[in-house]
């Protein structure tokens, strides 16, 4: 089990991977990826029980994670590789022809660690609920985790799944929303204000935990420990993570501009300067 210091040591390397991957192919989504580095690092290096060396699709006896907002694939791939699912050097194939690291994650090319394709938004909560139900049928007491973008909550299917999970007491799932407040066309408040997500999910019957420091690993680890205590009590659990898009690269923060734009050579150098090579670049 990694300590908070060790987790904080991993974070800058993940950020380096993200900006280098996106820069290399001049495409991809760095902003959202950077915003949820700490959450994924906490899950994969501290919280989840999982088996990176022997990936199995069924994941019996393991905690499962589903990325619903698949466009943040760079952070997902980096965390998977750094936790041992596949060689770190494979990150250099991101978005290139014949790669297993497709623009959006897929099972199609059998990349270890990925259990469901995502990219078309709004589908991952249903998938997570289904996987959680399968765990219950299998008497498997591990937890299913999902991650969603806040803009993604504009998709209706999310609310179908939210209604189902609460009504049918699917209490072995911890969903999280990456509330960076940004989407492609601007801030979520400009595009389609969603009001209080806490009130909405509570009205749907979820147990909601707000995490105001969603880019702080210690806070996240504590919040996940609390969330786990809330599982098994008849309600699905929702973590609302207040995050900063582009976190850790100063010029990518406080803007939606870096949703789907790659840094140029100068910008890459700047970003790398701000994040130490702690584990060795791929």
């Amino acid at each position: 089990m990694a300590s908070a210091v060790e987790l904080d040591n991993i974070v800058p390397q993940i950020r380096r991977d993200i900006v280098r991957m996106v820069h290399a192919v001049n495409s991809g989504h760095p902003g959202g990826s950077l915003g949820c580095v700490e959450y994924l690092v906490a899950l994969y290096f501290k919280v989840m029980k999982h088996n990176p060396e022997h990936f199995s699709m069924d994941g019996i006896g393991e905690d499962l994670f589903f990325l619903s907002n698949g466009h943040v694939s760079p952070v997902f791939y980096s965390v998977l590789a750094r936790s041992g699912y596949f060689p770190v050097k494979e990150l250099s194939t991101f978005r290139k022809l014949n790669t297993r690291l497709q623009g959006h994650p897929t099972t199609h090319d059998h990349l270890p660690g990925v259990r469901m394709a995502s990219g078309s938004l709004g589908q991952g909560l249903s998938v997570g609920v289904g996987a959680a139900l399968a765990k219950k049928l299998n008497n498997d007491d591990r937890i299913v985790y999902t991650l969603h973008g806040d803009g993604e909550l504009q998709e209706g299917q999310i609310w179908e799944a939210a209604m189902y999970a609460a009504a049918k007491k699917v209490d072995n799932i911890i969903a999280a929303v990456d509330m960076n407040g940004q989407q492609i066309d601007g801030s979520t408040d400009e595009v389609l204000p969603m009001g209080s997500l806490k009130a909405k999910f509570e009205a749907f019957g979820w147990d909601v935990i707000e995490v105001t420091k969603g880019n702080d690993t210690t806070t996240i680890v504590d919040a996940l420990a609390l969330a786990k205590q809330h599982t098994g009590k008849g309600k699905p659990v929702m973590l609302l993570l207040k995050t900063e898009m582009g976190n850790g690269v100063d010029f990518m923060m406080h803007s939606h501009k870096w949703h789907g734009v790659a840094p140029n050579d100068t910008q890459l150098a700047q970003a790398l300067n701000q994040n130490a090579e702690t584990l060795g670049d791929y």
Partner: protein, 319 residues
């Protein structure tokens, strides 16, 4: 001489699905069923009653049902989803495309009330595009059995196949004439009558009508080979080519749009491998409407008489 087919009763194909699912419930502990508020219409009540812990009522939320089914495969479950064909395909196409087909998940999408024979509810519910939508998805198996017994056998068979399947069936009671003990082989055409002058490839409810047409043609001295294509994808290419080679003209018959249906698949294959005169009995770029199933099949040209006419047209084109 036309081989004689008879039936003792008419039964709906959806009840064949219900019976097959109920049997699977007893024989395969991994089979789970999901339904979007149409349990009675899909005849899933028996499974729901016998295996409440493996039955998931999702409410009127088909997108979530498909996503949940995809998720349940992770952990080894074999989910069967049930709703009307319209809500099983067009309404949830992107969910099926990404979470089931592209993700290669072992989900069985079971769809009732396909086509015009849904009847009085009208065109909003009478999907005639579902075969086309589903067969375009890479890796998706598309099955449209012809009667109760065959639907039951198909339901049981697809549980033993690992991969996404679309199983299409219907609402009305139709002649139940195939053997109760048949072995259903995915992708294997069923030769119903050997003939020499023309081949009729039919699927679903049109198979019995093809048999009726064959009897009328035989009375006029025309020998029709009749083949039941219960699996539209993967198409039984060798059976189609072998029969077309023998009769040198073909008619396809289905309760679906011409675009995207069985006729389209047969035409593609024969154009590539063995160009053969072909006529299609199908709905020609039109929506349906309210009416009784029989009235609608007549109005939209899906009766035995339409197959007979198509045979006569294609015989004139035969070289």
């Amino acid at each position: 001489m036309m081989k004689k087919y008879s039936f003792t009763e008419k039964k709906d194909t959806r009840s064949g699905f219900g019976a097959g699912l109920s049997e699977l419930g007893k024989t395969n502990a991994n089979v789970v069923a999901l339904c979007a508020d149409l349990t009675g219409s899909l005849k899933m009540d028996a499974f729901a009653k016998e295996h409440p812990e493996r039955f998931f009522q999702t409410g009127i939320a088909e997108a979530n049902m498909i996503g949940m089914a995809a998720g349940m495969t992770i952990g080894g479950k074999i989910p069967f989803t049930g709703t009307f064909a319209n809500f099983s395909t067009g309404r949830v196409y992107d969910q099926i495309r990404q979470s089931v087909a592209y993700s290669g998940k072992n989900v069985k999408i079971c769809a009732s009330h396909a086509g015009l024979t849904l009847g009085e509810d009208g065109a909003t519910h009478q999907i005639l595009e579902d075969i086309g939508l589903m067969k375009m998805l890479p890796g998706m198996v598309v099955i449209n059995p012809c009667d109760y017994n065959q639907t039951k056998a198909a339901t049981i068979a697809i549980a033993n196949y690992n991969g996404p399947v679309y199983l299409r069936f219907g609402r009305p009671a139709v002649p139940n004439f195939t053997p109760g003990d048949q072995k259903f082989e995915i992708g294997k055409a069923v030769l119903l009558n050997e003939g020499t002058d023309v081949t009729i490839f039919a699927t679903g409810h049109l198979v019995w009508k093809a048999i009726e047409a064959g009897e009328r043609l035989a009375a006029e001295g025309i020998s029709a080979e009749i083949i039941n294509i219960h699996t539209i994808k993967p198409l039984d290419n060798s059976a189609v080519i072998a029969s077309a080679k023998k009769t040198r003209c073909v008619v396809t018959a289905e309760e679906h749009q011409m675009n995207g249906g069985l006729g389209d698949s047969v035409a593609q294959l024969l154009s590539r491998e063995l160009p053969t005169p072909l006529e299609m009995v199908a709905v020609n770029d039109s929506f349906g409407e309210s009416g009784t199933p029989d009235e609608l099949m007549t109005k939209y040209g899906l009766d035995a008489v339409n197959i007979v006419e198509a045979v006569k047209r294609v015989l004139k084109r035969k070289v």
